[in-house]
Symmetry: C2
């Protein structure tokens, strides 16, 4: 197994941008702790956990959390634990998302619910949350416990919100941002903020870190939603346009729906009918979203949030680290999904 | 809604034993906090949460936690929060259990997975865990965060352990107790222990509280497993003998399997064949478990654990509270499922 991890880390490090070198020791420890050291008692659970962490995931959240730690005073052992908690919660939420969406593929690999079943997925997601809780306890910091508890609560509210709004073309931009905050940005904000808290930074700096993570997270979700439209199944490792197919209205569709063009009404009707009137309905809806510039407008929204993220790291004095945090923000826009 | 809660509390109080009067103010607050005050954002989630908490559950764990608080120095606001955390985790685990077991009925009512679907159940269970985490943060006690994090981890390990051992007649008594500890007793122990911790008791007393909860919890699980054999569907509010039907080997079957009688081998073969050779296979297995005295032997095991629980509260000086804690232990044996 040790060789597998080393090989995996080597493979991963070739995918990572150069500036990740500054945190590659910590990322290697994180990798080992996730793939090998989680205390799964049964053979089956061990197998599932290894499969999950060996089958992808670019550790984007741990990376920003660790870089933020460097930028706010240095990386302590507790920062590595924090980045593990963040990745555990993120991974658990993906497993549960895949049950909810009945997804077959994730990161180009079969999902747990597809390879095993929904029941096993529930337990596996659960187990990762449980491990996140155990590690949260180890941090011995009540403020961070509260922050991550709210992340968990946000994740559920975001998920149920999304479920309640399926095939509903009346969703507002405000609601979409609220849902994206709950589902994605809340965890980004939490890991950035908590890194600064562990370095005993003052409240102003902590707020900047929180806001950097929050804006980055919202932009990340918007870009993810655009990629669902613009990428092939091969590129994104799951079915293309699966969001709209499943009735999830994201930024590109939302902007198309809000257009004053007559075609907006057509999209609305197609969604309300759940693309069921004609077998070409779904393809038509996708075409109309493109024609009405939904993806371009969504991209502009993402850029605005990235600009906001960048503004929030003007407090970082170290030019190298500041440039890394700016590069991460740029990476989101460049649609490099890492 | 207020009237509903009052009516509900009135109904509940008639089911509760008299000595619960000593904590009925706290139980009423708990009820209101669970049914009305959980911050579910969407209408759907609000509806599900109300359904869950209005459709049964005798608040047994909150009751022992609150009585233990009284016995170790008095009930503070944080003890009520602790009892809410305990009931939230317990309820979330039931919802997820019902997905895993594809259960249709719980406490005589339709399960969430049956009334809605598996996806909604995942989110609902999740939401309750999220709320438990938020309340855990409010306690501002790192030791208790760690204790409950381990409970969560235990719950998953117990669940996957059970899943791994389906239709496996080689399960040992030790493994069964370990699984019962993870699935049930760990939470009982946590709420008793944490009540004493919140009252700043010394480590010896805290250990006694932990051990009382642990023994009580193991006995509770054994009795629950016996009831699955001896009760009608109407009495237990779910299908009778559903454990063995689903391949879960509990204490009565285990004792029957360990008998030196020839019929033990027959049970083994029936289980290994998953009762699939003949339509009468399952009924035959049940009959053999009874014939070999599986339920009586399991009852004796439960009594041993109850005796152990009782020994651990000899430290309680207040005769009234001591008698209440003894009565709770007796109640488990009397198979009064509260």
């Amino acid at each position: 197994m040790k060789q597998t991890i080393e090989k995996l880390n080597k493979e991963k490090s070739t995918q990572w941008p150069d500036f990740f070198n500054t945190i590659n020791v910590e990322l290697a420890i994180l990798e080992e702790n996730l793939v090998v050291k989680l205390p799964a008692k049964s053979k089956l659970l061990k197998e599932i956990v290894s499969y999950i962490f060996l089958s992808g995931g670019k550790r984007f959240r741990p990376a920003i959390s660790l870089l933020m730690a460097k930028a706010t005073g240095g990386v302590k052992d507790k920062h590595v634990t924090l980045s593990e908690i963040t990745e555990l919660i993120h991974t658990a939420s993906l497993i549960h998302d895949d049950i909810i969406d009945s997804a077959k593929l994730r990161r180009g690999n079969e999902t747990i619910n597809s390879l095993w079943n929904d029941k096993i997925s529930v337990i596996a997601g659960y187990f990762l949350f449980g491990q996140a809780s155990v590690k949260l306890g180890e941090l011995e910091n009540t403020e961070i416990v509260k922050i991550y508890a709210h992340v968990l609560s946000d994740l559920c509210n975001g998920e149920i919100e999304q479920y309640s709004l399926l095939f509903n073309p009346n969703i507002t931009l405000e609601k979409y941002i609220e849902k994206s905050t709950s589902k994605t940005a809340s965890l980004f904000a939490a890991c950035c903020k908590s890194s600064a808290i562990l370095n005993n930074q003052d409240p102003k700096i902590i707020k900047h870190c929180n806001d950097y993570g929050m804006s980055l997270g919202i932009a990340f979700q918007i870009v993810d939603d655009i990629l669902d439209f613009t990428s092939s199944a091969n590129e994104i490792g799951k079915d293309a346009c699966s969001d709209l197919k499943n009735g999830i209205i994201t930024a590109p569709t939302l902007f198309a729906l809000n257009s004053t063009d007559e075609r907006a009404k057509q999209i609305r009707i197609l969604i309300e009918n759940r693309f069921n009137n004609d077998e070409k309905d779904f393809d038509k809806a996708i075409r109309l979203v493109f024609e009405l510039g939904g993806c371009e407008k969504a991209k502009q929204l993402a850029i605005n949030h990235i600009d906001n993220a960048k503004e929030n790291i003007s407090f970082v004095k170290n030019p190298e680290l500041k440039s890394h945090l700016l590069s991460i923000a740029e990476m989101v826009i460049k649609k490099m999904r890492i």
